[in-house]
């Protein structure tokens, strides 16, 4: 450790301390503590990158500059980790839990394996992301902005499970009339990308950070062709192009260009509802439900300080894409968006899961 790091950290913490709002309790001090940020996925996916990006920044802003360690607890598409977190009680404020859309979905679909209740947890930070679907080079050549030429190709896709975040791409591809066979049981999107690179899978999607880190080189090498993003929400709640990938059409555009794909009606509404729950508010950081208010405020202030860093926009766009980060009340509102889906959309998706994959959730 060099002197300059010490100095810089001291300066940063002084600035942070001076800039913090009044409610921050001076009593909460994490000096010498280790904060465990548990991620219910493997080390290879987007959630890992997300937490690894925020962890050191958070460490600098929390009082006492505790070590923030990201721990991985993968299994059963993240319900394993979430069920574990449900059992955790507030101890000394050193446990943070990160969820992703793959944790939200089983909850929304009343999956019997879900033993957790989002409403009992306290969100302290939420951030959105986007997703990019891409094709192998051979089939990518047939892609012309619509899926019209892709309808008689058999695609293979490495999937974490139809009831997970993968629901959004799988449903989108089906709406486009494409024939995509999922291979279930992979542990993270990184493994899915590797399967794509080996040629075993022929279609893949990554969340924005995973796409930027691992898939862009494939596109540059001509081994992959970007197909579409899921898009982003504008202020009116309509789907527009993803600002991180302005050159890639959104699913909505591709759907409009493809015969037989409708951007209205039950099917579209259901897709959009799950897209909103899974992407614009994809990742949330939680404290256990019984955490005292002063600890919650400390975390809120720390995350606030992180996103107010002058270089935050720059460093975050490189690692996690240009998406909003919500803190405090914003994260509470974000949680509402992510965990409420109209009943009609839910019923449609439940019926589709049963018809397409024989999955009955009850």
């Amino acid at each position: 450790m060099t002197v300059s790091v010490f100095t810089r950290r001291a300066v940063v913490s002084m600035i942070a301390a001076a800039g913090l709002a009044a409610p921050v309790a001076a009593e909460v001090d994490f000096s010498g503590k280790t904060i465990e940020w548990v991620i219910p996925f493997s080390e290879t996916g987007g959630s890992a990158k997300w937490a690894n990006f925020f962890a050191p920044l958070l460490s600098e802003e929390l009082p006492g500059q505790p070590t923030v360690v990201v721990k991985f607890m993968p299994g059963a598409g993240s319900t394993k980790g979430a069920n574990w977190f449900q059992e955790q009680k507030h101890d000394d404020g050193t446990l943070l839990f990160g969820t992703s859309g793959s944790t939200q979905f089983p909850y929304l679909l009343n999956d019997p394996r879900v033993r957790y209740e989002y409403k009992e947890w306290i969100p302290v930070m939420a951030s959105g992301t986007g997703g990019v679907a891409y094709l192998n080079a051979e089939d990518g050549a047939k892609f012309d902005g619509s899926a019209n030429n892709l309808k008689d190709v058999d695609f293979i896709y490495g999937s974490q499970g139809a009831t997970r975040l993968d629901l959004v791409p799988l449903l989108a591809w089906q709406m486009l009339g494409m024939n995509v066979e999922p291979v279930f049981g992979i542990k993270g999107r990184g493994d899915g990308r590797l399967m794509f690179e080996r040629g075993e899978a022929t279609i893949d999607y990554q969340t924005s950070s995973g796409y930027l880190g691992g898939s862009v080189p494939l596109v540059e090498a001509g081994q992959a062709v970007p197909m579409m993003t899921w898009g982003a929400l504008d202020d009116d709640g309509s789907i527009v192009r993803d600002p991180t990938f302005p050159d890639i059409p959104s699913f909505k555009e591709v759907c409009e260009a493809t015969e037989g794909c409708e951007t209205s009606g039950d099917q579209w509404d259901a897709w959009k509802a799950f897209f909103v729950a899974g992407f614009p508010v994809q990742k949330l950081a939680f404290l256990p439900g019984d955490t005292p208010q002063d600890v919650v405020d400390t975390y809120t202030a720390a995350f606030q300080a992180v996103i107010e860093r002058p270089d935050f926009a720059e460093i975050s766009s490189k690692r996690v894409g240009k998406y909003p980060v919500f803190v405090g009340d914003g994260s509470q509102a974000a949680l509402e968006t992510a965990t409420s889906v109209q009943d009609g959309a839910k019923q449609y998706v439940l019926g589709w899961l049963k018809d397409a994959y024989g999955v009955e959730l009850n």
């Binding site: 080390e43 600098e60 990201v70 059963a76 279930f184 049981g185 590797l194 691992g214 460093i315």
Partner: protein
């Protein structure tokens, strides 16, 4: 050629980066920290790296890399101490080393075993780095050639080592491996999340059992209990025979074995998703197969150490390929490493496909820092081995309580639950009986370790193959029977045929006498009862989650069939037949002055007391009572040893930010660390 032309200047640049005094200083610092962490079984690189993580933000990249790599590189070297001296497999990298390393220590050849192991480690690390320097340039397409069928075949090759290690009765070995596989399926399935032999009411079981706990339970607990019963030193007669120089000579005499196993290590390490779990078993199997006189394996054959130790450090180098080129970590510590690299400097180094193009010099620095760290770490370890080997001459009764302390703490680190201790005790019981009745413990462990890969690769390869077959028959056959798969099948078949022929001469448990029918028969029936329960349980999973039930059903059915044949054989054969092997009939265990249950009760007592008053308080009571009552030490000695043990525990845990298992007392009263 063109590749080489760009690579050579980058290699030169990398050396210029590494050979700065400051960088070397950081490397040595990392190595020393790694050694301190690594001798602790069950902690390893993850704990150490987590400790370094906060210092990485904005650090000069090559300094940070030197520090982290120094730490990661020596863990597979330093955990050799525990596996050779105490029979404790510290990590998956040292499982196979226990098989011959610990018997050598018992023969008074601890220093020789250690230095042979370290020399092999060093050499393996260097071979690995040399190989990687060239290989990393062309690695991508080769790594990508290993699809799911290929990975499945490598896993099966690893499993086929059961044939070599099955012991005198092949059926027993297969049933032991099957039991290991079945124990490995406990918990939530990866594919569909169904529960197997678990319930949400016992959340601990849904996570499945951790390798550290199973390794400690199967190898360490039975050995500690057995030695404690005999009340002697680890080295028979408390004398040290051969010195550290002999070990280095042994290694040099077997240098070609070391070369081959290093290459095996790099080659398997390169494949993402397999990691270290199979490497040392394949290397051990190879060592056995290429040795003319196999009679010493399992009893202290130095080639049984040189093989696995050459491969496991080379594997660390190989593991860099998926980590650096694909951004896919081969192990938990590599995952933290990836996270840490992103924090270095201005954050420009992004581990992944761009690494070769944009940061070839950094890539080479990492490869050679790893090799250099191996050199530094090995020299330190060899220098220490002569002294540390003297531990084996101490009366074991004075060591055992500290070992119980260490393995309990190590087990607790894996899941931070009190149940970790219960699991350790239960698996320890299984281990004790496997050992007593001469069921191959290595076979059990191989089964357990490979349970998850076997299931995952089988399911996924099957799905993709069935899609391909639907397209056309040829495409399906091309996918399943790729040239690599065919080569692997041939290797597997040859190694199984050779293995079965050789298995009879390799007695991992020594020459076990046979006795009456009753005890071995009861043990067999207990295993059958478990298998039947597991089968019924797996069968209850609904059919739409077929991926979650098919492997437990097939493996469970197979193991049950093995057991059923054994049962018939047991009923037919006369008493005293080799099938009724029982260590309590004759030999060291039978002649031991202390009984099994009274000895085990000490360990049970420690766990029970932990449940009530928490680990540290329980440990104080345990150490004092043990030294006074069992060891018969005077009060002065007792207090000094107890204080030393507690101080050591607190020092290590404090430095690493670790907690101790809490008890009922802790949930009622708020106590300060380390009592909390």
């Amino acid at each position: 050629m063109e590749i080489l032309a760009t690579a050579l200047p980058e290699l030169g640049h990398a050396w210029a980066l590494i050979l700065q005094p400051v960088v070397l200083g950081y490397l040595v610092l990392g190595v020393v920290m790694g050694l301190c962490v690594g001798v602790f079984p069950g902690l390893g690189g993850i704990a150490g790296l987590s400790l370094l993580l906060p210092f990485m933000f904005g650090m000069e990249p090559v300094y940070g890399l030197a520090l982290m790599i120094g730490m990661v590189a020596v863990v597979p070297t330093s955990d050799t101490f525990a596996s050779v001296l105490m029979g404790i497999p510290g990590s998956s990298a040292s499982q196979a080393t226990v098989l011959d390393g610990f018997p050598m220590a018992k023969n008074g050849q601890a220093a020789r075993a250690l230095s042979a192991a370290f020399a092999s480690s060093l050499f393996g690390g260097l071979v690995g780095a040399t190989f990687l320097t060239v290989f990393i340039l062309v690695a991508r397409p080769i790594v990508l050639a290993f699809g799911l069928p290929e990975m499945l075949m490598i896993t099966i090759l690893g499993l086929s080592m059961v044939a070599v290690l099955a012991g005198r009765i092949a059926l027993k070995g297969m049933a032991a491996a099957g039991l290991g596989l079945m124990i490995g399926t406990i918990g939530e399935a990866d594919a569909g999340g169904s529960l197997r032999m678990a319930t949400y009411d016992i959340p601990y079981l849904t996570d499945g059992l951790k390798l550290v706990i199973v390794g400690l339970g199967i190898f360490a607990v039975p050995e500690i209990v057995s030695l404690l019963r005999q009340d002697r030193s680890i080295a028979k007669g408390a004398s040290l025979g051969a010195g550290w120089f002999d070990g280095i000579r042994d290694w040099f005499a077997n240098i070609w074995l070391s070369v081959r196993c290093s290459v095996i290590g790099v080659a398997v390490g390169v494949i993402p998703g397999l990691g270290g779990s199979v490497v040392d078993w394949i290397a051990y199997g190879h060592s056995v197969q290429t040795t003319k006189d196999k009679s010493n394996f399992g009893k202290g054959e130095v080639r049984g150490i040189i093989g696995p130790e050459s491969s496991n450090n080379a594997k660390e180098g190989g593991g860099l390929v998926p980590t650096l080129l694909f951004g896919i970590p081969g192990s938990g510590s590599m995952a933290i490493f990836i996270g840490a690299v992103a924090l270095l400097g201005s954050g420009d180094i992004e581990v992944g496909p761009g690494m070769l193009k944009d940061n070839l010099d950094i890539t080479y620095s990492i490869v050679w820092l790893l090799a250099l760290a191996n050199v530094v770490g090995t020299i330190l370890c060899i220098a220490a081995s002569g002294g540390i080997a003297k531990l084996t001459t101490i009366r074991f009764t004075y060591l055992a309580p500290f070992l119980f302390m260490l393995i309990s703490f190590a087990a607790f680190q894996s899941g931070q639950n009190f149940e970790d201790l219960l699991a350790l005790f239960s698996i320890g019981l299984i281990g004790i009986f496997l050992r007593r009745f001469d069921w191959s413990r290595p076979a059990f462990l191989i089964g357990f370790v490979l349970s998850n890969p076997v299931e995952k690769f089988t399911n996924q390869a099957f799905q993709i193959a069935s899609f391909r077959f639907r397209k056309s028959f040829e495409e399906g056959m091309d996918y399943i029977f790729s040239p690599i798969v065919i080569v692997l099948i041939i290797i597997t078949v040859v190694s199984v045929v050779l293995g079965i022929r050789q298995a009879k001469t390799i007695m991992a448990e020594g020459d076990v006498q046979s006795g009456s029918k009753r005890a071995p028969l009861v043990f067999l029936l207990v295993i059958m009862a478990y298998l039947i329960t597991a089968l019924v349980n797996a069968n209850m999973i609904p059919d739409y989650n077929m991926t979650d039930k098919v492997i437990p059903l097939v493996i469970g059915g197979f193991s049950l069939a093995c057991c059923a044949i054994l049962l018939v054989q047991m009923m037919r054969r006369p008493e005293g037949d080799v099938i009724f092997a029982d260590k309590e009939v004759a030999g060291e265990d039978a002649d031991a002055p202390y009984g099994l249950w009274s000895t085990l009760a000490w360990f049970a007592g420690l766990i029970a007391a932990t449940w009530i008053v928490g680990f540290i308080l329980a440990l104080i009571g345990f150490l004092i009572t043990f030294f006074r009552v069992r060891a018969g030490a005077d009060w002065r000695m007792t207090l000094i040893l107890t204080a030393a043990g507690i101080a050591f525990m607190c020092l290590m845990a404090g430095a690493l930010n670790r907690d101790f298992p809490p008890g009922l007392l802790q949930s009622a009263v708020d106590l300060p660390w380390p009592l909390k």
